[in-house]
Symmetry: C2
Subunit: 189 residues, 2 copies
Amino acid sequence: MKELISYILRFGNLNPQQIDFIAEKAKEIVIHKDEYFSEAGKTSRQVGFILEGITRVCYYNNKGEEITKYFIEENNLVVDFESFDNEIPSTAYVQAITDCRLIVFSKKNWQELLNTIVGWDAIVHKIIAKALMQKVERRSPLVSEDATTRYLKFIEIYPTVVNRIPLSYIASYLGITQSSLSRIRKNIR
Amino acid sequence: MKELISYILRFGNLNPQQIDFIAEKAKEIVIHKDEYFSEAGKTSRQVGFILEGITRVCYYNNKGEEITKYFIEENNLVVDFESFDNEIPSTAYVQAITDCRLIVFSKKNWQELLNTIVGWDAIVHKIIAKALMQKVERRSPLVSEDATTRYLKFIEIYPTVVNRIPLSYIASYLGITQSSLSRIRKNIR
DNA sequence: AACGCTTTTTGCCAAATGGTAAATGATTTC
DNA sequence: GAAATCATTTACCATTTGGCAAAAAGCGTT
């Protein structure tokens, strides 16, 4: 729990009562490898925070290929706010790629946080803005680089992830085939 | 001015006094084609809103290639908040690629909005979150598609832009060479 | 209309990546 | 520990894209 609180406190101030209130509304859950936290087509009904483990956000493009949009690691929020806020179907899957331990807030409890904690809305939007900026900064440069450079950037950005997840997910994230990535790995050694 | 106000009102409520106050703090400027709104290495000192024209955000990667990260069109905010908020050097250039008419707020006036209008901070962060989400959704899919599909997606996303800007900018946005894009255009016809 | 300048299109060949399938390696299950 | 299952590497060839340079087209100026 303290991980979440200190994460939140980086974006705004909260008094002890408010912190207690947040803790009351939180619930800890476990998701096993390959299980989904949320699914495309379904409305996202909870806000999560990863204490342990790695998830990925993925979808199927119109050729039916599975695309990994990004990975979300420990100490990050995991939620599709577009879907959660507007109660519309999500466009992507969020899947655990290792066993994960999460803190989650139900829609109802989240609403209570919004109603009770003055400035919660602002804090949350700062967090979202920050996370989105990171996604842009990470994903965008891939467009203009060749496959090897992409992989090297990936290693830089996700050093703790590289060796914990299947090569196929990385390839899909980088927009190249498994075999290409395998060749690239070989060339790098 | 009304374009900006109605844009803002989509993200939160403001009373007439507040709206007047915003208008007071705003200034309209013109930037000519190829001029910069802000530059890499310099701290971003104003928040802009495009009334007319197209800008692009670009930078140089470590091979010295000029990369267009995205285009920003009419009725959108243009600002590097990372740089503006923290007063650190910006990492990208914002360049007008047609003549542009903008509304701008100086750092000082922006600060006054923050201090005077309750909830301004929250509104701004919602706007930023929305804009960033759009950037992610636009740029991210490019990674996994081949050059032709990228170009088709570009046309979908920026239908009003395609024919107003040089091919080289589009190529740089899509992460392909000019000649490739030229060939792709030919094949599509 | 002719000139200079910039942008776009082409042509040529080399290099990178994809597609497919088989071989190898690793891991789980019984 | 053998079999089955899954992940990774390799091989082959086809296709796409890049690099470079020249030609063509477009545009503004005189």
